[in-house]
């Protein structure tokens, strides 16, 4: 096992030579990611762009400690994820928030219950009050007793955002958060997401294929041919992300 290199306190995510290979249906290895080197500092907002099937969500899962890398290292919030076991990774995940394209609310729980859940799992004391508070902040104070199927798509995503922020995450991962919403609702949701992100000083990692949305982030990467390419705001030619320390 490698001794982890100390990271600057401002670095929230760092990957070294990260790769992920899966077995396809015919049991042939299928490389999805290869040699990814990436560093994200605290408070940054980062967009990962790429076409469908490029491996964006796989990368997101790896960064969040939900999946295991085939090669390389990942540091999340100073912790070497690849050297941790599931229990330890779960601990690290308590400082991570998620917003999914398909909301991923538990259908049998009310909005309030859904938001309470991560707080309860983390053993927070005043989980109910905090959850209520967050639902009010996303504008759903009057619908806390509603079940997901009684809410519109936009409202469901608001619950998901409240749930993500309720755990006071250091990093928030968002996987196509507006993919299931109309443009106007999507816009409102994104505004909310960025506002809360700013207020809370959270690091935001956003996976999307929506260029406009990506423009709102401080940094943008393109995932292509298993590689991650940094795109400067005015860049015409993509620069390999390895250039960053």
């Amino acid at each position: 096992m490698n001794t982890p290199e100390p990271l600057a306190s401002t670095v929230v995510i760092k990957t070294v030579n990260l790769g992920r290979t899966l077995m396809d249906t015919e049991q042939q290895p299928l490389t999805i990611l290869q040699g990814i080197n990436l560093q994200i500092n605290a408070g940054d907002s980062v967009a990962i762009l790429g076409s469908s099937g490029a491996g964006k969500s796989t990368l997101l899962g790896l960064l969040a400690g939900l999946d295991q890398a085939s090669t390389g290292e990942i540091y999340l919030n100073q912790q070497p994820l690849t050297q941790l076991n599931e229990e330890q990774r779960a601990q690290v995940r308590q400082k991570v928030g998620f917003v999914f394209q398909s909301f991923q609310l538990l259908g049998h729980l009310t909005a309030l219950d859904n938001v309470m859940l991560p707080l309860e799992l983390a053993g927070a004391k005043d989980y109910r009050k905090k959850a209520q508070n967050w639902l009010e902040r996303v504008g759903l104070g009057h619908r806390i007793k509603h079940y997901p199927n009684q809410l519109s798509g936009g409202e469901q995503q608001r619950v998901a955002i409240a749930r993500a922020f309720a755990g006071e995450p250091v990093v928030l991962f968002a996987d196509e958060p507006t993919g299931n919403l109309d443009q106007k609702t999507g816009q409102t949701i994104i505004d909310l997401l960025f506002k809360l992100n700013r207020d809370q000083g959270t690091t935001l990692v956003l996976v999307t294929h929506d260029l406009e949305l990506a423009q709102r982030c401080q940094q943008r990467y393109l995932l292509q041919d298993q590689q991650l390419i940094l795109q400067t705001p005015a860049a015409v030619n993509p620069v390999n992300a390895e250039a960053t320390p």
């Binding site: 779960a90 995940r93 991923q104 538990l106 049998h108 219950d113 859940l117 053993g123 199927n149």
Partner: protein, 849 residues
Amino acid sequence: MSRIPNAIDSGRAQRPSSWWLATRLLLREWRSGDLNLLASALILAVMTVAITAFVADRLQKGMEQQAAQLMGGDLVIQSPRALPEDWLEDAKNQNLQAAPQLEFASMLASDNGFQLAAVKAISQGYPLKGELLIGQSADVLGQSSQGQIPLSGEVWVDLRLLSALGVTLGDEVEIGQKLFTVTRLIQQEPDRGGGFMSFNPRAMINLADVPATGVVQPGSRVTWRLMLAGALVDIERYKSSIKPRLESAHRLLDVREDRPSVGSALDRAQRYLQLTSIGAVILSGVAVALAAARFARRRVDSIAVLSGFGHSPRFVTGIYSRLLLSLGLVTALIGASLGYLLQSIAVSLFQSSLPVSLPPAGWQPWLLAMGTGQLLLLGFARAPLQQLQQVSPMRILRRDLVPASASSLSTYGLALFALVALVYWYSQDWRLTLWLSLGLIVVVVVSSLLTLGLLKLLHPLESKLPVKPRLALRSLYSHRKTALPQVLAFALVLLVVALVSIVRNDLLDSWQQQLPITAPNHFALNIQLHEQQAFEQALDQAEIKHSPLYPIVRARLTLINHQTALEQVPEKAREDNALQRELNLTWRSALPDDNKVVAGQWWPEDYQASPNALTPLSIEAALAERLGLSLGDHLVFELAGQKIEGVVHNLRTVNWDNFQPNFYVITPPKVLESMPQTLLASFYLAPEQRPQLAQLVRQFPSVSLLDIGQILQQVRQILQQVTLAIEVMLMFTLFCGVVLLLAAVKNSLDERLREGALYRTLGASGRMIRQIQGLEFVCLGLLSGVLAVLGSEITAFLLYRQLFDLDYSLSFTHWLLLPLISVAIITTAGLWGTKEVLKRPPLQVLRAR
């Protein structure tokens, strides 16, 4: 097969037939593995039913065969007059073995004395079933007659007759006008009756010798019997061909009628086998219902997509219906074949411990098992499939659109219909069907109310609990709609297993009590009052365990409500044996142990007869029913010119299975004491005490000693076989129960996988998720266990009272054990079944949705 007409656009390809599509779909789904659970459930269902049906069929046949030996044949036609000649010919023409016999009472005379004996005149072939043991002396065990019968001029006698007549083998005795030579000693007779009141010593002669004796004249009291044996189908065919020709004096006897003790054991065993089969059906129903629900759930998207492509949901579900039907046929064939194979293996394993080898199974179990599979599919899989018709094509766009759930009425109604139909098909018994269905409905309704009530009650208390139990309880509460069927399924499975094992224990107990090893195997009849003391002393000295000596007054029932009994009884009872002969009356202050008063009341122990009051009479209930007697009827019995007058004071059932002295008529003490009477005792004679029996016969020549040891032995063998049958069935039920519990847990896996994945993204550790899930399973197990105990007690209570005629008592061990076992199995199975939650990467699970 339906083809959609395609008149509008002839250029468009015609829509393929639904069956063709269904077959292709079936193959494709089978390959994808998505049908595995449903197919396994169906195969398991048919296999379980097949195993029970095959084993039950073979054991049933085996038991009947064994029991037929007690009767000397598979079927007996009995008549007080000679039977028409062509009946015998018909039987022979229908491939049956047939042997007529004639039985009558006659005085036998030797140089040394006289003795009234029961003479049986037999013909070639006797006995058709069982063994007649004959020998030269009482001290050496005899040999099988092997088809041999007395030659003309020969008589075979039993030990009692030999002693009573004071003769030895080779001596001559007279029956009527003919002289016979005693050539053999009868040691065991397969079809010797089990009752004890008509037991005169036995003599056997050749049927051809009867006319020469001149004792059988028109009007003589005789019993003709036509003994028949052969293959079951032939017997059944003959039975139905002869039934319309029977007159009121004819009686068609099979094992049940001829041997009430064996008959009731067989009946109970058969009911038990039915119960286990029905249990297996319920288990299978649960499995199919769970698997079908899962299958339908997973088809919602496909149907939405196909609907979106322009096929109506009705068309698509029609295809799925055909798919299920084809699946049903394929799985029925596989399941029945597997069942046949497994039962062959099981029976061959147990064969060595069976008293007789089991006959092969017939074709009916095949039909039963495969038909059951189809009915289960219809009853338990139709409703979830129907629900798919409600799928909106909009679901392609909005995944949160779930089809309206099928109404509980159609879901449960269809399942109930299938179940009732199956139970009736299995039992052919409306009573069993009614009580079992009623029991199940009560259990399902009560369980549902209790489960929902309890969850609702606990819900407000959640917030006071630590995080893990809180989340476990909340998950249960919020999943109550899916948790309820799951709890019901678990509870039903446990209930069936518990019921099958409770009934087994009580049946075996009751049989063991009925026939302990030292159950009396001899009766001593006709003990005179003056011999009482000497006889008791003789038994005590020989260290023979015996019952008290019961007084018997033999009297004939002559008047009922001041009219002759023959006129008063229903027409079909006119030739009833009870009116033809003297009945045994006795007196008692207390109700005999195995008797139960079913109408009226027993008299107080200190009953004092007032001089003018009529004697209260206690009558055996079945006799009263046959003769049409009811409470308050005035009866007159006569003996030797004396009269006994009384009124029917109570009716009581008698346990004829226990081989203890039982009486048709009982009076309070003192009423009969002045009447002519003899005494009766029963005792147990160990094999090594056999020489003492000969001694006893010599010492008390007028006492009739009746050896029922052989009958007891045969009954024990039957019970042993029945016991084994029950054990085998219990084992299979247990096995199927556990497999089903595992399947039921597996059924809820999809939702748990997703929940677990989401919990992980929200920061829960694997251990925490396992603990929450573990707690959930503990709650489910506990709830199911308690409901199963409750349900099994309710159902057992109903079944015991209504069907098994057993005493019901609450079992506290079950109350403790069943919930514990339930928690252990469900938690282990649940955690094992959901271990994948931690194995699969959470994002993969979430994205797969």
